[in-house]
Amino acid sequence: MKRFNSPASYTLRVNGEERAVVAAAGETLAHVLRRILGLTGTKIGCENGDCGACTVLVDGVPTKSCYTLALDAADAEITTIEGLSDTPVQRAFLAENGFQCGYCTSGFVLNAHALLRKHHQPDPATAREWLESNLCRCTGYEGIARAVDRAAARGSTTTQ
């Protein structure tokens, strides 16, 4: 049995690096990433698990960090937007103008990145099912959808 009192000391493995954390046991992963580790690419929108702006990957699985306790991810591999560089999904978002203000973009990119790692050529229903987890108030989703289609069509098997 592991016991964490508040404040708790533990380690998170983020983007391939071991990072030491001292935080309240009830602190969410979103706040730890942003406030303690300085990784502000993960955004906080609704803080209710609805908008997906806070999406990160935990062991490669899209996870909304606003309701995930950081302690709950302490033995996992966490990937934030800062951990992706020049991926097919990111190039596709640029090519297809899949963003405007950019606030939702990191969440969409991480979710799409995970989608295409699991389904190299997702059918429209599968892509829609995954991307329904993220909201965008700016674009109307067309550019985002084109970006995901573009990344899928050109293959996203490059590991990142």
Partner: protein, 304 residues
């Protein structure tokens, strides 16, 4: 974040979890079992939930075990494990009316209607069933399967029919943890249908007010067995429900629409009133419920 100081315990065994709960209770501290945490964290942030200790059960082997073919699902199993287990069979979850074959498909359909894909990576079966929200759709197939709940607590372990444990809410004693659901897979095997235009044995329909990702107005899960039609409902009342009186009405002879209306009347006569809220009136929910039940009867029944 959880806006109050709390202790977080990660249990590796059932005994550790229960012992920790008992010890914290004896020390005068309030404790809660912690699964995916989606509801706990959001309610805590809204000051609608408070505990001094959270006991995480997700590492416990009996809670993680996922053997639906053998009739066992642990409480820590994530909803997407149920969804992904049948995608390969071509059954897509989420909202459509699918007369799908196989008990596994019904598990996937009901789980797949909850929240969105990313959130389902976090929600556990146990957390959904034990939650405070009125919907708790993941429980519907287990009600149809007449599943048994495996429970452990300070007073020991017990196995109890889920229908006895889930009376509006889970009736668990202080310190008890529902750690798994089990059922007889042979008993829920679909009855082959004589109809060539539908798949055998199961029906699912979920209606929302607007988009697919939304709380349900009504969710209907139905199953045909050798003994007749079973139906479990969520969203229409304030809690998931399977009603013997409603099923008796569904299994009477007559047109599907008439039987469905009689089933809803029987349901409400038992006290499970169809609810009204800002999403829909009771009359609209009632109409959706009758429509879905009638559709299910038509989809599942062998023509006479």
């Amino acid at each position: 974040m959880i806006p109050f100081d709390a202790v977080y315990l990660i249990a590796e065994t059932l005994d550790e979890a229960v012992t920790a709960y008992r010890e914290e209770l004896a020390a005068g501290r309030s404790a809660r079992y912690f699964g995916g945490g989606t509801e706990i964290v959001t309610l805590a942030r809204g000051n609608k939930l408070h505990a001094e200790v959270f006991i995480d059960y997700k590492r416990i082997p009996e809670c993680r075990r996922f053997e639906p073919q053998a009739g066992y699902i642990g409480a820590a199993v994530r909803l997407n494990q149920l969804v992904d287990a049948v995608v390969a069979d071509g059954v897509k979850a989420g909202g459509g009316a699918v007369a799908a074959g196989g008990a596994l498909a019904l598990l996937a359909l009901c789980a797949g209607g909850v929240a969105d894909r990313t959130v389902r990576n976090s929600i556990t079966v146990g957390g959904n069933i034990a939650g405070q929200l009125p919907y708790r759709e993941a429980v519907l197939p287990f009600l149809l399967f007449e599943a048994r709940a495996r429970v452990v607590g300070p007073q020991g372990a017990r196995v109890v029919p889920l229908r006895e444990l889930l009376v509006k809410r889970l009736q668990l004693a202080e310190g008890e943890l529902l750690y798994a659901l089990e059922w007889d897979p042979q008993a829920v095997a679909a009855v082959p249908t004589a109809r060539i235009d539908s798949l055998a044995g199961h029906f699912y329909r979920r209606r929302t007010a607007d988009s697919r990702v939304d709380y349900p107005l009504v969710t209907v899960a139905m199953m045909r067995t050798k003994a007749g039609i079973r139906a479990a409902l969520a969203g229409a009342c304030g809690y998931p429900v399977r009603s013997a009186a409603a099923e008796a009405a569904l299994n009477e002879p007559g047109a599907p629409g008439e039987r469905a209306a009689a089933a809803v009347a029987a349901l409400e006569a038992e006290g499970a009133k169809v609810r009204a809220d800002h999403r829909a009136s009771a009359d609209y929910r009632r109409a959706l419920l009758v429509s879905a039940l009638a559709e299910g009867l038509s989809a599942l029944e062998v023509p006479k």
